[in-house]
Structure formats: structure tokens, C-alpha cells
């Protein structure tokens, strides 16, 4: 009975965070603002659903799977990377160079400046792959 309540709470919380993340995608005005909604809200949304399913299979079906853990670990590892890529894509497309703050270092932001050790004569591909690290 208590397990039922916990599973239901996890499902409802997950659902609420999922819909809030997708609603934020519609509501917010600026692309960079919109980037915040899915990367945060949706990871906890899916996380809630995964916890619920883990508990459900553990207590209701008497089978255990580690796949939920793997899926949530995978999502938590990849969400920052996709967010980083999308932010860079946005900055590249909109050419925001003037609106960004200074790096407070000798070299500029990686989209606009060549890395110092690359200045000699690097193949173009290598510069790009280093940039996006």
C-alpha cells in the first residue's frame, strides 16, 4: 500500500516536471532561456518515471533490473553535452560576439579565437574538434 503511494507520487512528480519542461519551451522568449527548461526539468521528469518503474518492478513484479539506473546515468551524462552543443550552435547562428562578456583572460571565446598552441599550422578539422571540447 505504501509502495503504491510512493510509486504514484514518483509518477505524478515526473509527469509534472515533464510537462513543465515542455511548457517552458513554448513560454520562454529567448533561445538561451528556452535551453534551461528541457535540460533541467526533463531530466527530473524522466528520473521520476525511472524511479517509479524501478520500484514497481521491484515490489509488484518481483523482478529487478539495473537498466533504469543505466538509462538515468546516461541521460544525466549526456544532458550537459547536448546543452553545451546547442548553446554553441545558437551563439554561432546568431553571431552574438558583441553581447558576450569578456573572457578575463588573454584569449577570446573559443568560437572566435584560435587556441594558442594551434596557431602554427594545424589542419582545419583538428581546430574544430579541439574547439568543441
Amino acid at each position: 500500500m505504501i509502495v503504491d503511494v510512493i510509486i504514484s507520487i514518483c509518477l505524478v512528480v515526473g509527469g509534472i516536471f515533464g510537462i513543465v519542461g515542455s511548457y517552458g519551451l513554448i513560454k520562454l522568449q529567448d533561445t538561451m532561456q528556452r535551453l534551461h527548461a528541457p535540460t533541467k526539468a526533463t531530466t527530473l521528469g524522466v528520473g521520476g518515471v525511472l524511479v517509479a518503474s524501478m520500484l514497481y518492478f521491484l515490489f509488484k513484479e518481483d523482478t529487478y533490473t539495473f537498466h533504469e539506473l543505466l538509462i538515468s546515468a546516461f541521460l544525466f551524462l549526456t544532458a550537459p553535452i547536448t546543452a553545451h552543443f546547442m548553446a554553441k550552435t545558437h551563439i554561432r547562428m546568431r553571431e552574438l560576439r558583441g553581447t558576450l562578456p569578456e573572457t578575463q583572460r588573454k584569449h577570446g571565446w573559443s568560437l572566435y579565437d584560435t587556441p594558442p598552441e594551434m596557431l602554427t599550422d594545424p589542419p582545419a578539422d583538428e581546430v574544430k574538434s579541439l574547439e568543441s571540447r
Binding site: Y23, G24, K40, T65, L70, P80, I81, T103, W109, S110
Partner: protein, 163 residues
């Protein structure tokens, strides 16, 4: 010799555990297969990953992970409340530059991931020398405070872990 055979011991262990979780059934055969994969894959991919990250302090790592998980939950609630109840014109977004004291690429990667997953911030870009990180804040009244919080809360702990 040993360093050549097992270039990344932690990676080997992780791969074996992940393999066991994937097949979802513990048996000697699966353990052996996972172990072979865990030994083989790091050797084959060693040219792409020459340096070994210098990690110390397992308790500090656990502490860091727990702090980040707690912050992720708080961040989710905060961002959800901002999305639901804050009118768009009241949202004050800002770009923040965070100069880094960290030097190892692994530590900077972990820090960038942490920034993205925690309260209202997304890491957007590194400077070309890799010593400064560009952060976008969803809503803040004081960008300086955000920078100081990132430096004190996460970077200080990471500096202790990745020496």
C-alpha cells in the same frame, strides 16, 4: 608494462560493471566477458586518451556527487517555479564569465556538466585557452554572486579531487 596493459584501471572497472548491468544477470561467464571487454576497450582506445586523470579522495567524490544530486533537485524546483509563475518581462537573464583555476581537462568537463545541471545556469562556451567558462543564467539579480557560488561550491571541491 602494467601501465601499458591497463591504461585506465577505473575505466576498466566501470566498463565491467556497466556490462554486468546491461546483461542484468550475474554469472561467472558474464563477469569474464565483462572483464575481457573492460581490459580490451581501454587498450584499443588508449591513443585517443593519452593522459590518466589524477583522481584522489573517494569520500570527497561521494560528497561532491551527493551535493550535486541535491542541487539538481533544488534546481529543478526553482526552474519549474520560474517557468510557471514568473512573467517573461521580469526574467533577468545574464551572461557570466567564470575564470577557472582548474587546469586538467577532465576537471573542467565535470565542472561544466555540473554548472549545466544545477540552479538556473547553463555552461555555453570555453575560452580558446580553456581557462575561462561562459555561463548563461536564467534569472539573477547579482551575476557576481552566481560566479562566486560556482567558484566556492563546486570548483573548490573539484580542485581537491583532481590535484
Amino acid at each position: 608494462m602494467l601501465k601499458k596493459l591497463i591504461p585506465h584501471p577505473l575505466l576498466s572497472l566501470t566498463l565491467t560493471v556497466v556490462w554486468l548491468m546491461l546483461v542484468n544477470k550475474f554469472s561467472l561467464g558474464n563477469l569474464l566477458l565483462g572483464g575481457v571487454l573492460g581490459l580490451l576497450i581501454p587498450v584499443l582506445t588508449a591513443p585517443y586518451w593519452p593522459g590518466r586523470p589524477n583522481v584522489r579522495g573517494p569520500f570527497k567524490m561521494v560528497e561532491y556527487v551527493l551535493i550535486v544530486i541535491w542541487d539538481i533537485i533544488v534546481a529543478n524546483v526553482e526552474v519549474a517555479l520560474l517557468i510557471l509563475f514568473k512573467p517573461n518581462r521580469d526574467l533577468k537573464s545574464a551572461w557570466v564569465t567564470v575564470p577557472l583555476d582548474l587546469r586538467s581537462p577532465e576537471a573542467i568537463t565535470v565542472l561544466a556538466g555540473t554548472i549545466t545541471m544545477t540552479p538556473g545556469t547553463v555552461s555555453a562556451m570555453l575560452s580558446s585557452c580553456g581557462t575561462s567558462i561562459l555561463v548563461h543564467c536564467l534569472h539573477t539579480d547579482d551575476p557576481e554572486a552566481v560566479r562566486d557560488e560556482i567558484k566556492n561550491r563546486y570548483e573548490r571541491r573539484l580542485k581537491e579531487i583532481f590535484q
